[in-house]
Symmetry: D2
Subunit: 350 residues, 4 copies
Amino acid sequence: MFFASDNWAGADDRINRAILSQSGFKSGYNAGEADEAVRRQLSELFETEVSVWFVATGTAANSIALALAGKPGGVAFGHEEAHILVDECGGPEFFSGGRLCAVPGQNGKMDPQALVAAIARYPAGFVHHGRPAAVSISQATELGTFYRRDELAAIVAIARAEGLLVHMDGARFANALVASGMTPAEMTWKAGVDLLSFGGTKNGCWAAEAIVCFKPELSGELAFHHKRAGQLFSKSRFIAAQFSAYLEDGHWLSLARHANLMTEKLVEGLRRSGRARLFIEPQCNETFVVLNTATATALEAAGAKFFEWALPASHAGALQPGEKLYRLITSFATTPEHVTGFLEALERAG
Amino acid sequence: MFFASDNWAGADDRINRAILSQSGFKSGYNAGEADEAVRRQLSELFETEVSVWFVATGTAANSIALALAGKPGGVAFGHEEAHILVDECGGPEFFSGGRLCAVPGQNGKMDPQALVAAIARYPAGFVHHGRPAAVSISQATELGTFYRRDELAAIVAIARAEGLLVHMDGARFANALVASGMTPAEMTWKAGVDLLSFGGTKNGCWAAEAIVCFKPELSGELAFHHKRAGQLFSKSRFIAAQFSAYLEDGHWLSLARHANLMTEKLVEGLRRSGRARLFIEPQCNETFVVLNTATATALEAAGAKFFEWALPASHAGALQPGEKLYRLITSFATTPEHVTGFLEALERAG
Amino acid sequence: MFFASDNWAGADDRINRAILSQSGFKSGYNAGEADEAVRRQLSELFETEVSVWFVATGTAANSIALALAGKPGGVAFGHEEAHILVDECGGPEFFSGGRLCAVPGQNGKMDPQALVAAIARYPAGFVHHGRPAAVSISQATELGTFYRRDELAAIVAIARAEGLLVHMDGARFANALVASGMTPAEMTWKAGVDLLSFGGTKNGCWAAEAIVCFKPELSGELAFHHKRAGQLFSKSRFIAAQFSAYLEDGHWLSLARHANLMTEKLVEGLRRSGRARLFIEPQCNETFVVLNTATATALEAAGAKFFEWALPASHAGALQPGEKLYRLITSFATTPEHVTGFLEALERAG
Amino acid sequence: MFFASDNWAGADDRINRAILSQSGFKSGYNAGEADEAVRRQLSELFETEVSVWFVATGTAANSIALALAGKPGGVAFGHEEAHILVDECGGPEFFSGGRLCAVPGQNGKMDPQALVAAIARYPAGFVHHGRPAAVSISQATELGTFYRRDELAAIVAIARAEGLLVHMDGARFANALVASGMTPAEMTWKAGVDLLSFGGTKNGCWAAEAIVCFKPELSGELAFHHKRAGQLFSKSRFIAAQFSAYLEDGHWLSLARHANLMTEKLVEGLRRSGRARLFIEPQCNETFVVLNTATATALEAAGAKFFEWALPASHAGALQPGEKLYRLITSFATTPEHVTGFLEALERAG
């Protein structure tokens, strides 16, 4: 009954075997055959030539992407619950030399009007306040939702009108993609995204994160950002091997569909139970649920693993006395037995 | 005949199998059982309690270690051929916010008098020049040598007298260790080293690099440097698994001994050949050799892989017309056949 | 009728004459007799030995002070309208390598409960979020108020309990001081302030800003921050001369009392007029007033100089259609005629 | 007998009076009439439209100029004795996020071949080493010489061929200018200089330093660098006033000619004395002279003020036992009596 995080699972079998298949002597540093093979796979997938930069973590991908937009006084805008704002220990600010601005919005998504208002606080050429530099979109969001096609278009249109770089944090890109019905191209560059943090780790890899760059003219600068950040793996083909197996034959989509399906099953059970209140309508592989603390304690005693979640600022007042907010995450490795086990424990927790 | 780099080899078999053995759900972020197991292994090995921080690359390990010593106007001293000075794209300066100072010295090792002179250019409290902050020792050096016990003591004594943090870049720590006859403790904290960049990648792992901290009082700060740098792997046990297999039963030492032995064999052959001039007396797994460019071309045509090397500034004038400097590296994966093949090709190259 | 800013005035006469009195050859770089004389004046004034660092601007003073508290993942807390958050183009973040957190609160002052809640979002040792580093208090505030003795104590107590450095932005220190009835010592180190940005420019100097440090153990680090930031004036005695004349015989307090008195007169007139609504009860030398835009236009046509002000986020909805918020500032150089002229123009504006 | 530094003198009288002439209410922040007047004066002087940014110190001017050229892995090249490399406490590195590279050369001037060799260590697109970003030329140099027309052209040609930004550190611009016979335009943009640190402080002002930008397309970025660095003076007209008086009617050139002339007289006397050995042929207002330490002590006892100077690395071995290197600087305020007094004391010193 593991619902604590999608990075508690080990790696998917095909991916493990792919690592082993890498043998013999090969050049490294992002410039070998295996690296190039991934670039070709992603270029085909995204229906355009991309450049690809493997990194150790999503924090690194996001930080370097935003560093590319960095300039003195620069401000990057993201949802107030976004990973870049809450969970990266100031990495994006450190690498970019700039600031982040928290934009409010329901269900983990920036409200377009709030974004317009936030940007408007930086009139052009007024050095005292600083100036907008980038907009970062989490897809899926930190609250288990995703921007629909029109929602994505609305945010990007605002960024484009101001000449801002558009970054997408895709730590759970696959989960959002299969839920949205968009193609990879539609969800990124066709919608106006310049740089994507493309995550494979949460969806079945050991350590497969990459910056995917849709603007060839940015690649030269990215190369130096990437190396200086200490992110240029020498034996990079071992990341490449993971990505190749991940992407081949739509394997990554199957893994994500499974994770999302497990959340669907879980949510159905939670609704039926009458013992849990959905905080947000789940759309991918994360469920935010309000439980009585006694119920939560009983679930933990029964062996369920999951975390309490800090109430988002924009939902203050949403809890009754005795209640807390919890997060349940499913992954490629979640089994139907995990779900039914959890729901039965919930019944017993009564 | 692969002598281009020790990171052209894939991973050692035991290490590959160890990755596969990691299955099931486990917490991550450097805080799981597998992570703790490596910390205990290294604490035993180094005969003292250490803290351990997995990172993606040696550049990251070095940069974060030097960032810990960072202060306004701070200067870190290293050999003029050191990786931090030449091959890290300004990473140490970026992370530390400070500067590096190149110290000359024969055979890749800082000359103690030159180090004293370099430090003396920063009189205490004189803000205009800045101030010394750290000394970084490459062990093995970039030129395939290592600091002997007394040489190490001499450098550390200078650093200690000035109250500077002592860092060791151990990208090829194992190769130096088995060549030196010192114990891991003697080569580090017992000699006065505070922080070690401990490399496993060049010696048989896929991606196993760590900062090993011998000063418990620095660990709290390291944790935040490490996370902010985008180096906190979520599924960190996959690095841990590599290190555990690497360290178990002295496997890492066997791998390094093999690499050094292959260099010994190669060097014997080079001496015998009369067609190559040793530039520096090799002590670990790297050979710097002067060849006629025609000879080098013939070797490459025969399938040998190796790189030309820029002549170190301190050896200006060491080459005759028609000659160039080349680097030959052996690794855990180099076979006797690679060596004999190379030497035979050298014979034929005439 | 100049109410645009207290830095539109030139310099006070005594201060101008003091600059001229500096002649002959003297050593510089913060280490001459004139520099030391200011340090002694301020030490006497603050009833404790202080160190003093002249800087070009308040932005520099604030940025360097917060840089001293900087650490990876570090967060400094200030009121959402504070100069460091709104008007310094990311300087404090750049110099400190950290982040700022906006704390809400009425009348330009941080609400203690909001500060506690903001700090609580950073649980100790949890690297993902980062960690609190400093609290910055604007005295006077950006909205023309000041923290009373008990309000100051409440904020500092929270900071102290968390081990945070306490910084005071005293760009209008004198105006707050004479309004508060506290002594300089009571308003700073006796209340728990570690570092003060002490501003003289807005109150009659040309360019007299300084970091006043109440913690001797921080002085050594400050020296290097200060020089590296490009703030170590060579002919520093020319700043010293301004400060000496400013501080002598309580001249600075007279200047500030005059500025505050002019605001009092202005406020009385505004109240009587029935044509202006006070947005916040003025306590120092700034008045925030709601006017019909037609009225504002008429005043400007009559020659009055003043700026529109962006509505603070915490006062959303405070304006009626046709209304805007404006800021009126008085200074040492404001004359009673400026005030009566403005009030008469207001009458005429209908 | 003040020869310690050209910043030991106070300010020139005309400049002092100009500060006093600034009265009344005026807008500030580099955007007032007085600021614009200086911009026009400098545009006329340099025979092209320039943008001008007042800063507190030469360190700030140099650091911001080089920050403009900053990019990940970027390297700025300057003479090994240049102020940016030796006397700015790491400021240029901090602001630019990059590195400096020391280029050797006789008489304080970069040797063109050495510059070519230094740049050549960074092959294009090889991320490991980093990449060239800027060349910084000190005019006058730190050793009291200046680049002649052809020397300047040679250095700039190398920079231009590599697409590097060209910066000139003109802390003693006026002294070099009057010595060189070039026009301001010839010595800067006509020669290929992009950005100039234009110093007035050492030549008669209190605090008048500016970045002069010859490339309009860089101005927008400079504005944000400048503000973020804490260098945007509120009452900027007080810097403007100094510059206006400084530049009017060629006053700045008269001041510099006087300083240079005093050095000429001093040098004549030193030559005649037989008690001092010129270390470098003086060309502006600085004399580097070798004295017996006993002689130096006697001069100090007689009241002469001057500093010992660290022997440049490129002149190792230039001193005999009992000798040291000293620096003597003249300024706008040096009188013939200072010079004759010094020479008489030298005679008496035996």
